[in-house]
């Protein structure tokens, strides 16, 4: 029973981090029809930013969190401006290749600057976040409890933003029809940049929550979580923010339970991709996705 509860808790916690990152994928995909392969690496870079801030510059953690989020947002927006904007009229494959190129560049850059060895994350200096909590027989860090709550609040806020505000309306318009919304006077570039601001900001937050319990960062730390989060986004239906949340929870929970079982534990990463294939075969648009008709 205790292991079950522990697994539930871990699963929900990791699932909500996946959800935060998946939102970045789902929003960018909704607007640009692009799998932002660099998103996982942006997430990894955010981890390194935190190490620079706290270990090298000795900035207190509450300022560091803000600095990391701002720096990651800048990184995300710069990537969009430099690598994706020039290819706006190019075929979709080119922009996807550009995203792969950025991912390759970021991984090599991180290896160059920080070396391929894992660097230890300042997980024990994060104030109340790294406090240990004991409930009955379950012992965990406080961040495990905070993560899902924070995620749900942020997702609700984001849903309100997309449904009720002017910029949200612009985003919905752009994702529905890129060219028409441009003709209607929507400032496409501003909307796209704003999408990247939200996506990268959430990735930075996700990175902080993800690395505190894991305690080390290495240059390829973002690639597998990145893939899983994209799977979560596809699972929930790409373009749908609540879908990303549900997808993240499902992936996180199934992964944790597989990891918990004795015989299957080494296949925990396999389960994610098997889920992906099943979903794509049964309901290609995901749980909450809209159906897109293909025109000749």
């Amino acid at each position: 029973m205790d292991t079950f509860l522990q697994n539930c808790l871990t699963g929900i916690s990791i699932g909500s981090i996946y959800a935060l990152i998946a939102i970045g994928y789902t929003m960018v995909y909704g607007i640009l029809r692009l799998i932002n392969f660099a998103h996982g690496d942006i997430f990894m870079m955010a981890g390194y930013f935190m190490i620079i801030c706290m270990t090298d510059l000795l900035i207190p953690w509450y300022y560091s969190v803000i600095i990391v989020i701002v720096a990651t947002i800048i990184l995300g927006v710069v990537i969009e401006r430099v690598a994706y904007k020039p290819l706006r009229d190019a075929p979709r494959m080119s922009i996807m290749i550009s995203a792969i190129g950025v991912s390759y560049l970021l991984e090599n850059l991180a290896t160059y600057i920080f070396s391929a060895q894992p660097k230890s994350y300042p997980y024990d200096k994060m104030g109340f976040l790294s406090q240990r909590v004991t409930l009955g027989n379950i012992s965990t860090t406080l961040v495990t409890f905070i993560t899902p709550v924070l995620t749900i609040v942020l997702v609700l806020a984001l849903v309100v933003l997309v449904r009720k505000t002017k910029i949200g309306m612009a985003m919905r318009a752009v994702s529905r029809d890129f060219e028409t919304s441009q003709l209607m006077g929507v400032r496409i570039n501003a909307v796209i940049s704003f999408t990247f601001v939200i996506g990268s900001g959430l990735a930075a937050l996700g990175s902080i929550l993800y690395f505190i319990p894991r305690s080390s960062v290495y240059p390829l730390a973002g690639s597998l979580p990145g893939l899983k989060c994209f799977v979560a986004a596809v699972f929930g239906g790409i373009g749908s923010i609540p879908g990303a949340l549900v997808g993240g929870f499902l992936i996180g929970l199934s992964e944790t339970f597989v990891k918990g079982s004795a015989t299957l534990s080494q296949y925990s990463d396999v389960i994610t991709f098997i889920l992906l294939i099943i979903v794509l075969l049964v309901k290609p648009t995901g749980l909450f996705g809209e159906k897109i008709k293909e025109k000749v």
Binding site: L87, M93, I97, Y104
Partner: protein, 367 residues
């Protein structure tokens, strides 16, 4: 240009390449470090050329954006290694887990093992092809990328310890023992792919790439042709992986990661999606840049007593990926676009520009 002239030009190009390979093989001293770079570039470049051409068959000619290359390479490399490691050295290789009983005396000749490596990769491709190829472009990319990861995880998992040696990987993988072996296998494989592309199947692949719906309306069986392209591409990726294992002498589950797939994809893009000669030229250039020309960037250098900033281990790969990004962003068609190499366009270039082109990049973009 007539068909005959075209054939002559490609035969001539092949002869030039063969001449370079033989010159380097016969005339350069084995021990000299300067020349060993050139040998490395030619050998590794040819293996990557095979991998790039096989990826181009699927991605460039059929328009299936598959990123499963690394998975098929892993499978091919492991199959080859398991079937060829000499019986005498097996005890040493499998020192921790021991080798599975049925496997302990199985040793195949190298060419047969290569073929089996390719077939294993093709078999996996055939199995996953049916569900995966129904997906549209970017979903296909993610699904194949996922499968490649699954292959890596399964190969390193403990139930297979006595076959794949788990996470320790396999060593003492034999090679041809001759400098020419890798070239012969790669060139034969590339030639087979070229023949396929020029056949009626190849034309069907291109039709599918250009417009799926129109191709279907013309009576091309989409599912069958996509499956065929995917399986054949994976077959050669498997052989390429086996050649890599042969070249390195060792393989583990972390040898062919997603980064390797990305690397091959970028080679294909630089060469031009849909150009076989482009892929070959670009893999030789890219490998030369990565393994040779950019090497000095990785070492700390001094001008007098001044320490040149930025130079340290890893800088080479950063410069390299920046160059790749520049190509991706500004020379989107790559070196050859979707054209093939021929002597006429080089001759034209001489006439038009009146100067020697350093790389064929100029020619590809001018059209």
């Amino acid at each position: 240009m007539t068909k005959k002239a075209k054939k002559m030009s490609s035969v001539a190009a092949l002869f030039v390449l063969a001449a370079i390979i033989i010159c380097v093989g016969e005339l350069t001293p084995q021990s000299s470090s300067q020349w060993s770079n050139l040998r490395t570039v030619l050998q590794l470049g040819t293996i990557y050329a095979l991998l790039a051409v096989s990826m181009n068959l699927c991605n460039g000619f059929t328009g299936l954006f598959s990123l499963g290359q690394a998975g098929f390479m892993t499978l091919g490399a492991y199959t080859y290694a398991i079937l060829t490691i000499p019986v005498a050295s097996r005890a040493g290789v499998y020192y921790l887990y021991g080798v599975a009983g049925w496997l302990s005396n199985v040793v195949l000749p190298i060419p047969v093992a290569l073929l089996v490596a390719g077939l294993m990769a093709a078999l996996l491709a055939a199995l996953i092809g049916a569900p995966v190829l129904k997906l549209k472009s970017d979903y296909l990319a993610i699904a194949t990328l996922g499968f490649a990861e699954v292959v890596r995880i399964v190969i390193a998992s403990s139930p297979l310890n006595r076959v794949t040696n788990g996470s320790l990987g396999l060593t003492k993988i034999p090679g041809f023992g001759s400098y020419y072996g890798i070239f012969i296998v790669s060139i034969v494989c590339i030639a087979i792919i070229v023949l396929l592309i020029n056949s009626s199947y190849g034309r069907a692949f291109k039709a599918i790439r250009d417009d799926e719906i129109a191709a279907e309306a013309m009576g091309i069986n989409l599912a069958r042709h996509k499956q065929m392209s995917f399986v054949i591409s994976s077959f050669f990726a498997g052989i390429g992986g086996a050649l890599m294992a042969m070249y390195m002498g060792a393989v583990s589950s972390t040898t062919f990661t997603i980064a390797v797939t990305y690397f091959i994809l970028l080679i294909v893009v630089i060469g031009g999606m849909g150009s076989v000669t482009g892929s070959i030229i670009s893999s030789l250039l890219v490998i030369a840049a990565r393994e040779w020309w950019l090497r000095p960037l990785d070492q700390t250098q001094y001008i007098g007593t001044f320490r040149v900033p930025l130079l340290k281990a890893g800088f080479r790969m950063v410069v390299f990926s920046v160059i790749l990004m520049i190509v991706v962003l500004f020379f989107r068609r790559g070196i050859m676009g979707d054209k093939e190499f021929n002597w006429d366009s080089i001759a034209k270039l001489f006439k038009k520009r009146g100067k020697k082109p350093k790389t064929p990049t100029v020619g590809g973009d001018a059209q």
